[in-house]
Symmetry: C2
Subunit: 323 residues, 2 copies
């Protein structure tokens, strides 16, 4: 514990300040108290002392008849359902100084109110504010082109905010015709169409799109037969690759030569015998599953669009049929 | 097209510079050329003109006998397998000015070399560099506590860099004992244990952990019976929730009261009849599937640890059994 001394001007909020100290501050002693000023002595954890000294005065509303403290503006925001605050990204002060003061005052205010997680979205155009937010104790959470999201966890103890999105979702597409041929594309080796799904794209739609892009073949989705979960792939993040069976609706191969060297219908046996796949347990298992599914000896998951009353969402449930 | 005029000092690299112009710059005319200086006139797209004027001189090595051009340091980095560059985050100049010069010079250098995507990871401690990188044309890509990743796409045309991770992965756990009771936890309503998996955690491990955390029950994973794919959930990102069947290995309910109000073994019929779940098509379908799986009338996916020779990874393939 450390001791912090502070002189403050008395205001209408003084009493609530005196008694409503945020977690982590233990009021010890009123040293002097007149009708207009007070000198207080606090003990608080050393980690909070600097922040307290800087920001304590901000939480006091000025006495309107004799304002002795300038109140910095508080950041605009709204409460989330987990006891946290989401700062309105459109209300951030433009100047660095005003932003720093507003962050300090707001954090102190939220600490007093017992708030938990604070979410601060900074747009690309406001990037000057990023170092200031970091300096005030925020950390990076996630980012997308156009913005970065920062967070601040107020309570003591570990941060309970949800992690940033952690997974890329890919698809691998197994399309087979009556002659036991699959459309394959080539960028060195002949492979089944694969790719990542787009933002907010469904798995079955992503599979249909990738087959079309890589081979020109139109398809319809039959079922998802297996998926692979791999960790520490791109940027140390994780990857889910869903293997989908699709039925061809066209036969003409059309490719975009900027993207793909070549594509063709390839006999399944020829595909399997490529040395590239020999001894690759994962590929072999997946191909076995696809062949079994094609021969109706394997059941995968189909997609069912269902509404959830609980969260008001229409989404896809992928599941097997009940026997 | 715009016209850019530039005077340069001649160096040993002048000839390679004259002929080795990067994409987008068309050399038009040498206006004057002496043994030590040259005045060149270029036409280039208006968007590149400013960048060119600023950085053209950087690509010339100084003539060692009479150095007339200061070469800023280039950023250290390595090539990725897609024709791009990954900047070494440990080599970034600390000063804002040195960083800005190095970014400009490096981008020009990479443009000349026909590089594509540039990856710039900035650690929390270097956050001062974020606004400079944004000003030089970088955009946010993704972030994690401790760093933000920025990217720059050099070629004309749309950015072909992979998106940032887009999905949170959750689990819902259905555990049932011989008396047709499930361990449920309560935070307002009685619900099955659910939660997000941790970084690099497997789906089955996440399910076992969440059941333990929310109810204290030890379990073993049986199978994954269905999953829901929902879009525009937290931060406009997507969500995959995997419904897992687990077998209880213990029976004593133990909860952390800071996290959970209460938990108990709840008769399945009582659970289903909660008004909260009535008319919720998604919940009803999931419960039907879980009951069918418990009664051996439904087959889900089990996890198989397999090695892939292709990418050298040991990972889990979730699939059904082949009949």
């Amino acid at each position: 514990m450390a001791v912090a001394m502070i002189s403050i001007s008395l205001t209408q909020d003084y009493c609530s300040f005196k008694w409503g100290l945020p977690n982590g501050f233990l009021r010890k002693q009123i040293l002097t108290e007149t009708s207009t000023t007070a000198k207080l002595k606090f003990s608080c954890p050393p980690t909070l002392e600097a922040s307290f000294k800087k920001t304590a005065i901000y939480v006091l509303s000025p006495n309107k008849s004799s304002p002795s403290v300038m109140m910095p503006e508080l950041l605009d925001g709204w409460n989330d359902e987990y006891g946290g605050v989401i700062i309105n990204p459109e209300s951030l002060p433009m100047s660095a100084n005003a932003f720093a003061s507003a962050v300090q005052a707001s954090l102190f205010n939220w600490k007093m109110k017992g708030k938990k997680g604070v979410w601060l979205k900074i747009l690309k155009e406001q990037a000057d504010l990023v170092p200031i937010a970091i300096q005030e104790g925020f950390n990076f959470h996630h980012a997308q082109p156009g913005y970065v999201m920062l967070t601040y966890w107020i309570p003591s103890g570990p941060c309970m905010l949800p992690d940033s999105p952690s997974h890329h979702i890919g698809i691998g597409a197994f399309v087979i015709n009556d002659k036991r041929e699959c459309p394959c594309s080539c960028s060195g080796v002949w492979k089944l169409p694969t790719g990542y799904i787009n933002k907010s794209e469904d798995i079955f739609s992503g599979a249909i799109r990738e087959v079309k892009e890589e081979t020109g073949i139109e398809t319809t989705f039959l079922k998802m037969v297996a998926f692979r979960h791999a960790h520490k792939v791109a940027f140390e993040q994780s990857d889910l690759l869903f293997v989908c069976m699709l039925k061809p609706l066209s036969s003409e191969i059309i490719i975009d030569e900027k993207e793909i060297q070549s594509a063709k219908w390839m006999a399944l046996d020829e595909f399997i015998e490529q040395p590239y796949y020999e001894d690759d347990h994962l590929s072999n298992k997946i191909i076995d599953i696809c062949i079994a599914a094609h021969e109706d000896n394997y059941s995968g998951f189909t997609g069912h669009q269902l509404n959830s009353k609980l969260d008001g969402r229409l989404s896809y449930l992928y599941c097997n049929h009940v026997n």
